[in-house]
């Protein structure tokens, strides 16, 4: 190949470059839809794709989940164009404030953040629990003393462990006085399976999802705390918030909310609208 001349080299580089351009040309349109007729409102649904079963990649590799289907149902109700904005959870406030998305709707806990966003009515209850292996010998919260307890960063379970009125005192009994902080619960669960940690502080719906089909795990009977999920809007966006609330009422009344909920048995019992 050392006799590759300059022209061949140039054309080879052009080929590589055009591949790259083609790759990025096709990229922006994958999850987004922007072929709305003129004047249609585009509802930009901001969510985390790491949060099954509320918002995640389905078995087909497409975006889906309870929150995604509900948001699509709201858009259908009003004839809005639905635009998914799967964002990085740590950058959610920038995405919302800058208008990259219109709401944060992704199993988003309202408790403790009441003043930070304009909230829809809560649509799902949730409880923070401790997940352990059944044979671990841990049966009460007090048994967690000196144990390694995993939690996902920037979640309500994490906040609860640092809340003086929440479970800060319990946290101080953990090994080292701190939880083991993971980027995702999936990785935390791997560590639990591998025996690297003893327990995970997690919300019950995500925990059910992780445990489904696996018999050797269980929740402790004592809950860490409870909370509710709602949709967070920009604080000055009352019109949109009111519209979404009205649509939620209508979707509860016509059975859509229940029908979508039944597709997600892990969370169905916790859905709280219309109850």
């Amino acid at each position: 190949m050392s006799n590759l001349n300059r022209r061949q080299f140039l054309s080879a580089s052009m080929l590589v470059a055009s591949f790259g351009l083609a790759a990025c040309g096709s990229s922006s349109s994958d999850d987004a839809t922007s072929d709305a007729p003129e004047g249609t409102f585009t509802f930009k649904h901001g969510f985390d794709l790491d949060y099954p079963p509320y918002s995640y990649r389905t078995d087909d590799g497409e975006i889906g989940g309870f929150d995604v289907e509900m948001a699509q149902a709201v858009c259908e109700y009003y004839g809005w164009q639905y635009e998914p904005v799967p964002f990085n959870w740590d950058a959610k406030d920038g995405e919302l404030n800058s208008g990259s998305c219109d709401c944060i709707w992704s199993g988003f806990t309202m408790n403790g953040r009441e003043d930070d966003y304009l909230w829809s009515k809560p649509y799902s209850d949730n409880t923070q629990m401790i997940m352990v292996k059944k044979d671990s010998g841990i049966v009460t919260l007090a048994d967690l003393a000196g144990k390694k307890v995993g939690v996902q960063t920037a979640t309500s379970a994490y906040d609860l462990l640092y809340d003086e009125e929440g479970q800060a005192a319990l946290r101080e009994t953990f090994d080292g006085g701190e939880p083991v902080v993971f980027e995702t619960y999936t990785i935390a669960f791997n560590d639990l399976q591998a025996g690297a940690i003893d327990a995970i502080a997690i919300d019950v719906t995500s925990g059910n999802f992780l445990m489904s089909g696996k018999d050797e795990y269980t929740f402790l009977d004592e809950a860490l705390g409870s909370e509710q999920y709602a949709i967070g809007f920009r604080k000055d966006d009352t019109e949109l918030c009111d519209q979404v609330n009205a649509a939620l009422d209508a979707l509860v009344a016509d059975g859509t909310y229940d029908a979508i909920g039944q597709k997600y048995p892990d969370i169905y019992d916790y859905l709280c609208l219309g109850k």
Binding site: L49, P52, G94, T184
Partner: protein, 215 residues
């Protein structure tokens, strides 16, 4: 999710990774040379400004820089940033990598003995001719191993585009891992990165061979 679907979904993510990779190289390789030459400018002010640029680009996390490029226009000027996501990612990567490439180039340029410049002056070469015909060809040969290093790092750094919600291969690996409660997506991502970097190594090796015209 079947293994095929997983592979297919992640292959699409790998294409996006590749898009950022190629555009970053196309932008930063030439820009780095401009920066390197400005760093050797006659004017102290230009040298200072370029020095500050390189310090900031190398001294702050790329993840932070990406956030600033994307959200900055909104937070600083209140501009709408719709459609700005992908350009911001490419801009962030190009400006960051140009700083690293500039220093690699400068090291290469300064490694050429001054005597060659003096000889070129005696032979009546202009400054531009000296640089283009005598210095640059030698620099390119010398810096190839360092450039290869940087290019390989870039392949892996593209995963930082996840910060701005770009659905590249590692973001997809995390998402699929979460929904399938499986470690497999990370292994697949690892294989994808390795194959890409093996190709980079092979390609750069070829270029080095072509440039090795005196052996």
């Amino acid at each position: 999710m079947t293994f095929q679907t997983m592979l297919a979904t992640m292959a699409v993510g790998m294409l996006r990774t590749f898009g950022v990779f190629v555009l970053t190289l196309l932008g930063s390789l030439p820009l780095g040379m401009v920066v390197a030459l400005l760093k050797k400018s006659r004017f102290a002010l230009v040298r200072a400004l370029v020095g500050a640029y390189i310090s900031i680009m190398r001294g702050t996390p790329l993840m932070l820089q990406l956030l600033v490029w994307y959200f900055g226009p909104y937070y600083l000027f209140g501009w709408s940033i719709s459609g700005w996501r992908f350009p911001a990612i490419v801009l962030g990567f190009v400006l960051n990598y140009a700083a690293y490439f500039a220093e690699i180039y400068r090291g290469g340029i300064e490694s050429i003995p001054v005597g060659q410049n003096e000889a070129a002056v005696v032979l009546g070469y202009s400054r531009t001719q000296t640089f283009m015909r005598i210095v640059l060809p030698q620099v390119v040969k010398r810096i190839m191993p360092s450039v290869t290093n940087e290019v390989i790092t870039l392949v892996k750094d593209t995963s930082l585009a996840f910060t701005l919600a770009y659905q590249e291969v590692f973001s997809l690996a995390k998402q699929i891992s979460a929904s399938q409660t499986s470690f497999m997506p990370f292994l697949i991502a690892g294989v994808f990165y390795f194959v890409a970097n093996y190709a980079v190594e092979f390609g750069m090796g070829l270029i080095e061979k072509v440039l090795d015209y005196y052996r």
